[in-house]
């Protein structure tokens, strides 16, 4: 990306230095002392050299922000920068890379700094950020600056290159036994047998014996009755399935909240709870899906795996709570057998669906999380 703008600033040290140069100049004029004159000349030339060196260093620099990956609230975001020095002879030292006009919810947690980029070199540096809110954010501009060699002048190259980063909602560690307690009993559609043959425990069927079948799977009773060898087939085990339904039908202003509680914060907590439940399910190997009621977001089917998790988190991250809500939305009956977890921002609403499910509210977030010990360990 070509630099669009170059700027030069005097730092505090530079201003003090200029003042000192003026004082020495006055002293050498007032008290004709050739040594002082020489020192004044050397100081003046040093100031010029400082400007020239830092300018020449940055002249042929090209910088490029390597697209940052997804971020998550509560975790660091590392953004990498690639600096290329197109000059054939002039090295660059002391390069600082800073983002300009950062969104308010993203703060700088660690400067990207490069000690040296030689002629013809390409070097990467890392900057660290922290996001305090979920959503889609833009890194509009970044600058590369240096005050090498003497720290008197700061020369900057400003690169107009926008990048976007999706900040996923925070994931709170929930009590590990939460989902297993909810899915127990089978009635809620947790563990079930699959319709496919596999290595599970449930009876699936009987077939002819084939060479190589395990002796343990032989149907001995049938052999006794028919004198024909047969093998019992078992069904494939299927993990429990969880569908998380996030109830956002009510507009933020219609939420019933206590005095001093921010309704938007409640909604965010609800989203965090939904993400945390999803993460818990994923950690336990369950299949999970997401349905958003009240917003125009397609339901995500029941799956498991890394990419599916990312998809769910991306859907949660991209939710725009300022959109108009559909208050009449309900959860349709479905043939899928899964435990349904309803997450409400303010209060449980059983009219949401005829399906049987567990209802959570955002206020329960703190009680469902794993307690944090005094020393900060969970």
């Amino acid at each position: 990306m070509q630099a669009t703008r170059r700027r030069t600033n005097f730092g505090t040290a530079g201003l003090l230095y200029c003042l000192t140069v003026v004082v020495v100049a006055l002293a050498s004029v007032n008290r004709p002392n050739n040594l002082l004159v020489w020192i004044f000349s050397a100081m003046l030339i040093a100031l010029l050299v400082s400007g020239v060196v830092s300018g020449v260093m940055l002249l042929r620099l090209r910088a490029h922000r390597i697209e940052p990956r997804r971020a998550r609230v509560g975790e660091v975001l590392v953004v990498r920068y690639e600096i290329r020095n197109l000059s054939r002879f002039v090295p660059a030292f002391d390069l600082h890379i800073e983002e300009r006009k950062l969104p308010p919810s993203i703060v700088n947690a660690g400067e990207a700094w490069m000690l040296h980029c030689g002629p013809g070199d390409t070097v990467h540096a890392e900057g660290v950020f922290r996001a305090s809110k979920r959503g889609l954010f833009r890194f509009p501009t970044f600058e590369v600056w240096s005050s090498f060699p003497f720290g008197l002048l700061r020369k900057r190259l400003i690169f107009e290159r926008a990048s976007e980063v999706l900040v996923e909602p925070e994931i709170i560690p929930l009590q590990p036994t939460l989902l297993s307690r909810l899915a127990r009993g089978g009635l809620m559609g947790g563990v079930r047998a699959s319709v496919e043959v596999g290595g599970g425990e449930d009876f699936f069927g009987v077939r002819e014996y084939r060479a190589g079948d395990s002796i343990r799977s032989i149907a001995w009773k049938r052999l006794a009755g028919t004198d024909q060898l047969a093998t019992i087939e078992r069904s494939r085990a299927v993990p429990p399935r969880v569908r998380i339904v996030l109830d956002l039908r009510r507009a933020t202003s219609d939420l019933r909240v206590a005095e001093g509680v921010d309704p938007r914060a409640l909604e965010e907590d609800a989203i965090t709870l939904a993400a945390s439940l999803m993460a818990l399910a994923d950690r336990q190997g369950d299949e999970f899906g997401l349905t958003i009621l009240g917003l125009d977001v397609a339901a995500i089917p029941l799956r498991r795996g890394h990419f599916h998790r990312a998809k769910v988190l991306a859907a949660l991250a991209a939710l725009d709570l300022d959109q108009p809500r559909d208050a009449s939305a309900t959860l349709r009956e479905s043939a899928e057998r899964a435990t349904v977890l309803f997450v409400h921002p303010d209060r449980a609403d059983t009219s949401i669906s005829p399906a049987v499910g567990w209802n959570f509210t955002a206020a329960q977030l703190s009680s469902l999380r794993i307690p944090v010990a005094r020393g900060g360990e969970t």
Binding site: N33, H116, E126
Partner: protein, 756 residues
Amino acid sequence: MNLLRQHRISAFLLLLLAMAAFATSQKDLVLLMSSGAIAVLSWYVTEGPRGRSLPEVASNILILGLLFWTLAEFLTDIELADATSVLGRFLLWLLVIKLFSRRTAYEERQRFTLAAMLVVCGCLETVEFVFAALVFAFIALGIWTAMLWRLQSSLDAARASRKGDGAFLPPPLEVAVGRRLLPQFRRLALLSIVVIFAGSVVGFAAFPRFGESRGGRSQSDAVSGFNDRIDLLANARINESRRELFTVVWKDPTGTPEQSKRPIYLRGAVLDRYDPVTHRWEALRTSNAIRAMRTPTDAKFVALGPGVPDTTGGVWTAEIAMRSLATSVLFTVYAPFAVATDESYSVAFDPATLLLRDVGTDHVSRYWWYALRVQPQPSPQMMETLQGSTNPPRSDISFPVPALKPIAERILSQAFVTGIPTAEDVRADPSLRWMRNREIARAVASWMRGGRFRYTTDLTAFEIADGEEPIIAFLERNQFGHCEYFASALGGILRTLGIESRLVTGFVALEYDASTSQYIVRESHAHAWVEVRTGEHQWTAIDPTPEESLMQISERNRAFSDNFRWIYDRLEFLWNSQVLAYDSAAQATIADRMQSKWWKSVQESYDAVRVQMRALVEQYSLGRAGMVWFVAIALAISAAVAAWLFARRRLRHTQRIAGLAGLPPQEARRIAREVSFFADALDMLEDAGFPKPAPLTPRQHVAAITLHDANAGGAFARLVERFYRVRYGGLAQSISDREETRDELLRLKSALSRRR
């Protein structure tokens, strides 16, 4: 990262240099050794195995104590003129205390500031060569250290920015660094140092000056020992420095250098007036008859007087070459009648005192070579030619110290002066006057050299009571002193006795170097003696100082280092002549010379070109139109060469992009020409903000661009496909293929411009 480890060492050395420079400016070896030893100890304490530092409370207490001590010293004992020295000492000890502090960025900045202020204090105290050399070393090391400090402080700041709270732990800072860090840093630092020093020379030369340099001529004069006045109350110790000021080659009438049988007295100033109130001998200014002349540039002699001088007695030549004394005074042997200089100078000759001065302003420095033609025993005719009637004999000789008269008469009686015409004899026969003068002067001088008086340069024990005349104090009570007292006493006695005499200050050439056949005149050879009028126009030098004493002191101060002084003295000479003595006159001279030289070289170049062009025109009978064609062809050839170079560079660039390094050159060139469209496309994309990262393949780059701009990505995708077919598929593009490629490039260009 090894580079940053050097920072602490170079910072420490920088501080040591600043302390050494200041101690040198004070000429205080004790200060240098004590502060240096404590500074070295601080390195062991703070950087050693345990790495301790002084607690802040202790440091503050020490600083307060130092402050009170300095204030007390300043208020009780020190004069305002010594304020810089006091301030410098305070800063030095403050710096020593700070050396034991913690190594933080803030403390580091404080130490650097103190070091810089220390050097500036030293600059206000002295301009000597040794100090200047230390200052230049400080500047050079300071540049290096400043660059290292910049890197170190940035690293510290970057590390500090990563110290998050426990909830957010950013990754540790991995310092990104390119290849060959150390050599590149060294090169850049050295280049900066060289450029700064070169630029400072230009700035120094061009800095506007408004008069003569105080740090130059008069400073060097002051430390040379020579003075154009004698202050008997100054009680100063005569300079015993072995610094070489100039050399004298004494040539006989055949031009052969020889050693004179007696020391050679080189006259610098004639003091013929004594002020009894201030106790000073000063020159009586008479300038009516001063002759000004311009010496030629080719070292030819020019006569100092009108008419032809009488040279029947033989002519000796004294050649004086300055080594470390910048002065307008030409030290002359009595009595010069012609002068020659290495460059053309404006010289003023005072016939009354037979002194020469440089009065010109159109030269770079006053470190010069000049030669004088003299007759050791000039004839009356010679003297009359030189002096004319500028300094007739006086009869009203007196000395403004009446109390000296009885002492002078007593001395005269003690001097066993016999066979000398008396005053009555002189009244009867005035021609006897000169003989009387000469004999009395010699007798009194001989009496003074007789052992009653001790020659010494150390006057710390010399006591002068309130209201007492220093000459009487010397003659009656102390009876020891240096040449100024000896000469003042003799001059005072002679004047009291009615004998016309005057004091002369200058140098005495004692030390003869047989290997180079020249006299070496040092600072310690500054001297004062008496001249007595012994003729209508003649004066005779009478030196009351025992010659043996002078020789002893000269030999006593000889040291082993004298053998190597020539190295240091040469550098110091250059420093004094080219830097300290540089003033507005020298600046104007350089500017005039440069301007004339520059203009001359421009004109010469222009003339040379014109001659060549004329020869060309004549040879080929070109005429005006032919000249125009010639110039056009020359321009066309230049343009063609430039285009060829550009095309060659472009081809190499394309070869690099297409990865054609391993192919035979001819094949590589052919493919490079075929795929040049791909290089053009990459350039367009880079200009539009889509540079291709090195790790990405062209197809991956297409994917990256498509995410941002589908149109541009699509156009570039087609070009990439074509590139692959040509580069790896061996496709040779037909004319229609090339046209399609051109169209694709245009589509890419328009897509990118729409994006803007």
